[in-house]
């Protein structure tokens, strides 16, 4: 139904999106950015994303794009 794309060059690993997604589809990954912070990843094996854009609206760094 929906999907998000995370722009890793903008993401600052604040994890607000991880706490925001009502379906728990965004997780801390084991990939790091150049500062050693863990990036986030979108994990939606069961196609649960409803493209509500709540994650994107709360991301302070405009790092999330939402598609439907």
């Amino acid at each position: 139904m929906g999907l998000i794309k995370v722009n890793n060059s903008r993401c600052k690993s604040c994890y607000i999106c991880v706490n925001t997604c009502p379906k728990g589809l965004i997780k801390k990954s084991n990939k790091t950015n150049r500062l050693g912070d863990y990036l986030v990843e979108f994990d939606d094996k069961n196609n649960e994303c409803v493209a509500c854009a709540m994650c994107a609206k709360r991301c302070p760094d405009l790092a999330i794009e939402v598609y439907k």
């Binding site: 999907l3 600052k12 994107a56 609206k57 760094d61 598609y67």
Partner: protein, 252 residues
């Protein structure tokens, strides 16, 4: 697939926010950029920027900006608007900038009823310089210059900016909003839209105070900082519209 949420067009293509992780400044800038897009103002806007964590606003927004000395964004905006009355002119300032070093300029701009819009990011501290006590620091709040907490004997009381601005005859719109939750973010955008529209309609000074997190200087995680906005700031700085001339005849 269709994009339902993407970067506003009036942001610079490869902008990089210089804010700390989880800082609400980024959300405020996005809301401003979205409104510039939605109201089709990009080619007709001049921003009067401030000194503080948002000092590089002109590196993020793809619009014309003038850099005002610390606190004087409303005074600079007055000159810009009076010489370019057809332009849309707004300021984006911190609490220290708007309500401490520049409070005289800010108040008199509202009193004169200059036809500009002003935004004040209230994070209860001088964020950029390391978290000193500011005009909106809460009673009891510990900062680098109030290590035992704010008290009335030494520091006096915090200022309620949006209520003070609402008292000025030249003010057409004054509201206080927050960014800690999605409903509050949506309300913040509505208030900013009104503050922009009163200028476009020539009604006078439009103002929005935005309660905003500063995780770094509050020594909190981003979500703890949002809890603090909810539990400590909002009870002291109530959200709402304190003046709205577009609602004919009433001060709401």
């Amino acid at each position: 697939m269709q994009a339902v949420f993407s970067t506003p067009k009036s942001m610079k293509e490869d902008f990089k926010f210089t804010f700390c992780p989880g800082c609400d400044h980024g959300i405020a800038v996005r809301l401003v950029a979205e409104l510039i897009d939605e109201l089709n103002l990009k080619e007709n806007t001049i921003c009067s920027t401030c000194v503080g964590c948002s000092v590089f606003l002109y590196d993020f927004l793809n619009i014309d900006c003038v850099e005002a000395p610390h606190g004087r964004a409303c005074a600079s905006a007055t000159g810009v608007k009076r010489t370019n009355p057809e332009k849309f002119v707004f300021t984006y300032q911190g609490d220290g900038d708007f309500a401490s070093i520049g409070f005289a300029e800010s108040m008199h701009t509202a009193i004169r009823g200059e036809n500009i819009s002003a935004i004040c990011i209230n994070n209860t501290t001088f964020g950029m310089t390391g978290g000193q006590l500011g005009p909106t620091t809460l009673m009891g709040q510990v900062t680098t210059t109030s290590p035992f907490g704010r008290n009335k004997e030494y520091y006096g009381y915090p200022v309620k900016i949006a209520e003070q601005i609402a008292l000025c005859d030249g003010t057409a719109f004054s509201a206080r909003v927050a960014l800690d939750t999605i409903p509050h973010i949506n309300q913040a955008k509505q208030a900013l839209k009104k503050a922009f529209e009163v200028q476009l309609k020539g009604l006078g000074f439009g103002f929005v105070e935005i309660l905003s997190s500063c995780p770094t200087n509050w020594h909190m995680t981003p979500e703890e900082a949002h809890e603090w906005v909810k539990n400590s700031m909002i009870p002291e700085f109530p959200l709402g519209t304190f003046k709205d001339l577009t609602e004919v005849g009433v001060n709401k």
